[in-house]
Structure formats: structure tokens, C-alpha cells
Amino acid sequence: MLAGEHGPANKRAMEILVALGKIYAAEELVPVASVQVAGVSYGNLGQAGLEFIQEWAEQGAGVRVPTTLNPAGMDLEAWEQLGVPEEYAQSQLGIIDAYRAMGIAPSCSCTPYLVGKGPGFGQHIAWSESSAVSYANSVLGARTNREGGPSALAAAITGRTAKYGLHLEKNRQARHLVQVNCALESVADFGALGYIVGREVEDAIPYFRIDPPGKPGLEELKALGAAMAASGAVALYHIEGTTPEAKAHTVLADDAVPVIIEDLDEGYEALDGTAQEIDLVWIGCPHASLRELAQVAALLGGRPTRAKLWITTARAVLGEATVRGLVEMIEGSGGQVVADACLIGAPVQEMGLSTVATNSAKAAFYLHGHHHLEVRFGPLHRCVEAAVKGRWPG
């Protein structure tokens, strides 16, 4: 393949894997069960990325393993009614077409584990999106490094990845013991905790001992991982009594550095601003589960909204929510369930938004840092109240 007998696209894909193998001293390539490719939203990828993907598609690149995409910068079907500029939309659709030509289904989501059967314990995969990498490694016990866009594509084209980093058991031990001594009551609390810990441990692996331990669900776990991957570069965490590797065997190093969390103030102070008027309430970072859509519908209770309310989710989850009548309930209040998209890669300023409320620590972190928006950050019930009143509830 390296000699180019399968065409320039395959040759280049193998070159990428071999180079990464060299750099990170991998002894071999390992087959992957699935690939998730970042570099989808036009906002993040730009013209250069679009041209690169088109060139690769024109050279006949095709994927060998099930491959999905990260979110795009807009709903691929309902972009016009959401106010996305035409020029942006055409470039975004061009990116999707190029990926489709490679045989990638345009399932654009940061939560591929909520669609179909996710990867199993110990399975090797090559995923890109930082929050999905964290969820797959930590909650499912699958094994992936955080791939860049081209290296994930290279894995999809060859069906393999270089075996280094988190693919190796010896690199999955935690060297930080995070003792949490405060109650965690909401998805926002888990996000605030993740923000604090990500800053503290940077790219290391934290092991959580939470008192009281509670029973965090997938929504809490995806919020925790997403926040740690945003404020730091955490790709794997363990929770005592909860995550599968922590249950299966010892994953805490003997000489682990202790980190003690007595409260979440640092997280809320950093992420929650002071804006009163709210333009948009954004739920679904990472993409909302069916349960979260049901919670929003119940909290709205049929009341009309004054602020815009967008819940981003995977298209397959949107389909399930439609069948269950949740989309009708949310839209009846004036909210919108947006598929395929992420607001972080979206043209938010051009869409006339300046204040956003969210229950996602990751969203708050990037909207503030990347788009310079004013952000309110708090639990879901307060966000839904903000949507109804058009103001952050006092």
C-alpha cells in the first residue's frame, strides 16, 4: 500500500500511519472497528480543509470500516430556516459531499455512541472528537487516541491505526487521584467539575473517588469528559465503582498525585457570566440524548419561549424523538431540535447572537473563548426558564 499500488489516496493514508507510528514508537498497526472523523464544520476546516478532502475524494479514497463524522456547522436539512448564510451552507454541503464520495455515511454527531451499537470493551477504534474519545475510552472501555482529521481519515481508508498511546494497556493507568467531597447534582455540576479537573491535570488520566459516590448516568459522564477535554486534554478518566476499567482491575498508580475538590465554585465562576438578557439557550453539547430531549419537553410544559431554544442532537436521535412526540412538544413551545450541528463551528456572529445560556461546561468554555459571546452557565431547569422568560432567572 505504501508503494502506491492502490492509488495515491491509499499511499498517502499509509504514509500518515507509518509516520505517526515512527513518531510515537508504535511497534505495529492494529485493525480498528470504527472511525469517527473530525474536520467537518466549515467554520473549523476552512477553504483549505475543504480542498484537501475534495482532492482526497477525487483520488478515489474509500473507507474500509464503519465511519461517521463529527458535527457540521449547521443542520444539513434545515439550515435555511435557522438563518445560516447561503455561502457558508454551500461550502458546508461541499465538505459533506466529498466525505460521502469516500463512502462515509453523513451521520454528523459528537455522540456516535448514542447511535446504533457503540464500540465494546477493549476494542480498538480511531475517533477524533475529544468528548467522544473520552466517552469511548472511559465509559465504554474501548481504546482510542485522539486522532486529528487526516489521521482519522487515514485509519478509515486503511482500516488500521498505529498502536501506541491509549491503545496500550500500560498507558491507561491514572496518575492523579481526584477526591471529590461535594455533591454533584446536575449535568452542569459534572461539567463544572470537569472544567476544574481538566485545568488541573491537563493531558493526564484522572481517577475519581466521589463522596457520596452516586450513580452518574451517561448524560453526566459525557458532560464530565467533554469539559475535561476542553479545559485540558483529558482523553481517558476512571471513576471508582462506575467506569469499567476501574471495576475490572487496578488502574490507579501507587504514587498518584492527590487532587482534592471541596466545591465547584472555581468552575461556575469561570464559566458563568453576568448577562441578563438571553438571545439563545443551547442544550446538547455533547449532542443531547433522548432522555435530555424528554427532560426539556417536560420542563417547558407547553409554555412558549421568548429566547431562541436550540437542542442539538444526532439525526438518528432526532428521528426517535420525533416518533415519541418530543420534537412536536418542543417545537410547540417555539424551540428547535437541530440535527447534525455544533454551534461551536457555526457562524454564530453572522446569525446575530450575542448572549447564550447553556448547561454544558464545554459549550460555555468555547463560546466564551472562541466566539467571545456572553455566556450564562447553569443547570438544565434554569436554562429552560431562561428560554421561557428571555432572561436568566435570578
Binding site: R12, E15, I16, A19, L20, K22, I23, A38, G39, N44, L45, G46, Q47, A48, G49, E51, F52, G148, G149, P150, S151
Partner: protein, 133 residues
Amino acid sequence: MKLIGRAIKEGRAEGEALVSHEPLGFFGGVDPETGVVIEPGHELEGDCIAGTILVFPRGKGSTVGSYTLYRLRKEGLAPAGIVNSQSEAIVAVGAIISEIPMVDRIDLFQIQTGDEVTIDGDTVEVVRPARRN
């Protein structure tokens, strides 16, 4: 002088060295429309990397930097070749997709800005031009 490193992207390239001892991030750090380093306070701020043999320890910053390198190449503003001390994924992948010869594991202190450098596979040949008055 001949230095032997490790080929990250095989190939041959010639150019004048532009040397920095600071890591360089391409996304946000290099203007893709001019090829000029724009990271405030960077050792190379204001320098154009187009056509040079760009010598720096390693990449840094966003993984989108791989695509920035590709765009520079499309605009004719990419470096002719890259020499690193220790390569990482962003620049390595960027060099491969942009077909820019690249070598790492080189002692950067053997090269000065203005040297005539030839990369060939894993070899970096450095010729210091006679000082002009």
C-alpha cells in the same frame, strides 16, 4: 556539513534556512494568505516562510494546523522543506498531505538562518554562504 536524521516525509528539497528555536503553531500562527508568521511575540513574527527550509523544534496548537500547511502549499506559500528536532502529529501530517519533505531528529543548533540547506530523505546538508561585506 551533513546531518543525518529521520525522514518523516521522504523527498528532496532545497532552500534557505529560516531557523527558530521556539515551537510553531500553523493554525492562527501563520497567515495562510501571505505565508508570514503572525503569532505575537514569536521569534519569527513578521518573517515569511514561503520557499524556505523551515527549521524549528516541533509543532504546537490546534490539529487544524495540518490543513493550514496544506493551504499554504496550494497558495505557493509553503516552506520547501521542514526540519524539526522532535516531530509531532500536526506538522508531520501537514507535511505528508502537502508533500513537503520533512526530517526530524536533527540538532537545530547546527543550522543558522540564511544557510543553504538541502533535504534528501533522512539527510540534511548545510552550506554556510561566505559572509558578504
